[in-house]
Amino acid sequence: MPFGITFDDIRPFIAPVIYALVIVAVLPLMAGYIVLLERKVMAHMQARMGPMRVGPHGLLQPIADAVKLLLKEDITPKNADALMFWLAPLLSVTMALLAYAALPFGPAFQIADLDVGLLFILAISSLGIYGIVLGGWASNSHYSLLGALRSAAQLVSYETAAGLALVSGLLLGGTLSMKGLVEAQDQQGVWFIFIAPFSFFIYLIASIAETNRAPFDLPEAESELVAGYMTEYSGFRWSLYFLAEYANMIVVSGIAVTLYLGGWMRPLSAVHMHIFGLPYELLDLLPALIFFGLAAWCSKLALRQGEQIQKLVMFLFVGMFLVLGAVMAWSLTSPSLMPGIHGAFWFIVKVLVYLYGFLWFRFTFPRYRFDQLMKLGWQFLIPLALVNLVMIGIAIVLVQQSGWPLAIAMIAANVVTLIVAFWLVRQGDKPMIAVLPAEDELPDVGPGEIR
């Protein structure tokens, strides 16, 4: 080998590089299908059918959309700052993809287990804001600039609450490594959502606000700002922004799943049930059964298709589910592969459940006004997160130093947090400036003041 590099030097890089390639290749496809899922869920919540034309039940719609976006004309506005206009979407999507480097999809399937894994993901995903801010500025358009400003203000406001919520989760885990957090939940035998529900709740709201999703999608509010920071973008660059948004959604879901929902662990992982003398646990059969059930359901749908080609496409999906089910069933027989494959399955299932929450909120809540958004962030979430952090810290000290049972200490801490939450809500209902005198009665501070 040239430069004196031997095979042993590059051996540790082989598996991470393959994982990274798989993630970069699969992620756009996954984002496309999440868009389809979103449209389908929205349609069903509004008693419509959703996409039905391209492929059976719209199953090929993401591919058609991707081809359309790639073939569209790529426009750069005449007065735009060309370099920044080119750089901004790239920054957005690069930072979104970089965050996957530390996300544990399973006990084996992780690119790098960093000692500061959670902080690394937070740091990298906070850089994605530059894509939005610079893109909005470079477009040289008022809608774009306003969208970018809103986005920056919103992210700075909600990052504090999200960070404080994550710290209280970290206190329970006692480590910053993503892998270590899941192992801590495994050892303590409980997912952290059950002992720190308020942290999860605050992180849920803050993560929706950070990814600019409805009901916090003010940076791209179409009724006020056309499309916010993306107004001047078209074609491929626009699709990069979209990819970054969905990639970020998966990242924040991954953080929440790792920290609060047990990561790659199977639900009820402490329960061991055996039936019919089978050597496998009952709940370990679930992944295979789910895929075989999906295959059966899809073949039922396939038989109903009128067109021959639609039938064929649907049967392709049946085949895919059968193969996945077979992989799940086969991995049961191999003790070395089973934790990795089943771990990745449960991780992705949990991420999808969390993402379903995103969609559900989007279609059931109206958009916040900007002052309401700021009030929720600064006057409710941040104080609540601070109180919650202190309470969880006290509870941990009581458990570790005074030997209290974990359940009692945590229930006490959460009850106090709940009371504070109710008090904050009541305070929020009161008008803020009712007791102040009118504007002209205020004392004059002197010349040169800024009102």
Binding site: F3, G4, I5, D9, D81, L83, M84, L87, L114, D115, V116, L119, F120, L122, A123, I124, S126, L127, I129, Y130, V133, L134, W137, L145, A148, L149, A152, A153, L155, V156, E159, L176, S177, I433, L436, L442, V445, E449, R451
Partner: protein, 168 residues
């Protein structure tokens, strides 16, 4: 290690080059972007020294927090005026001369100091996770300075709020 040297020179050139570009750009937003790139390259060098906590904190605080506010403010400023203004005054040759003298002095000191500078590569052994070490040092050895600094920041924050807002 070959790879270490390549990475170090990559980050070093990136840091210095972006720093120069940051000073010479006319557009304030471009300057801010090059400052971000300098800070990121510095973070990369921290990571090479196995100070992963510093690496992450550098990105979260400086790049993800402070620079976002910088860009936020720059975007609100009218840039057309700044672009037309002269950026360097006429004494720049004095500064250049002084920089040359200082550089020469540094080289002389370095040459005559000889073995006093330890220029060996950092040991390749892996260090224990240093998030805990930073926390221990900060909260045990330097507890009082840490608290004084945080009170100072709190006072500054309250002062800023009071100055910016008349009705509280």
């Amino acid at each position: 290690m070959m790879l270490d040297s390549i990475l170090f020179y990559f980050f070093a050139v990136l840091a210095v080059g972006s720093a120069i570009l940051m000073v010479t750009r006319r557009n304030a937003v471009h300057s801010a972007v090059f400052l971000i790139s300098t800070l990121l390259a510095t973070a990369g060098i921290f990571l090479q020294l196995q100070a992963e906590f510093l690496f992450v904190v550098q990105i979260i605080l400086y790049v993800g927090g402070i620079m976002v506010l910088f860009v936020f403010v720059i975007m609100l400023v009218n840039l057309d005026v700044a672009v037309r203004q002269m950026k360097f005054n006429r004494q720049s040759w004095v500064a250049g001369l002084l920089a040359l003298v200082l550089g020469g002095l540094a080289i002389v000191v370095f040459r005559s100091g000889g073995g006093a500078f330890n220029l060996m590569a950092s040991p390749v052994t892996t260090m224990p996770p240093n998030a805990e070490q930073v926390g221990t040092v900060l909260f045990q050895k330097y507890f009082l300075p840490f608290e004084i600094a945080s009170i100072l920041l709190l006072v500054a924050m309250i002062g800023a709020v009071v100055m910016a807002k008349r009705k509280i």
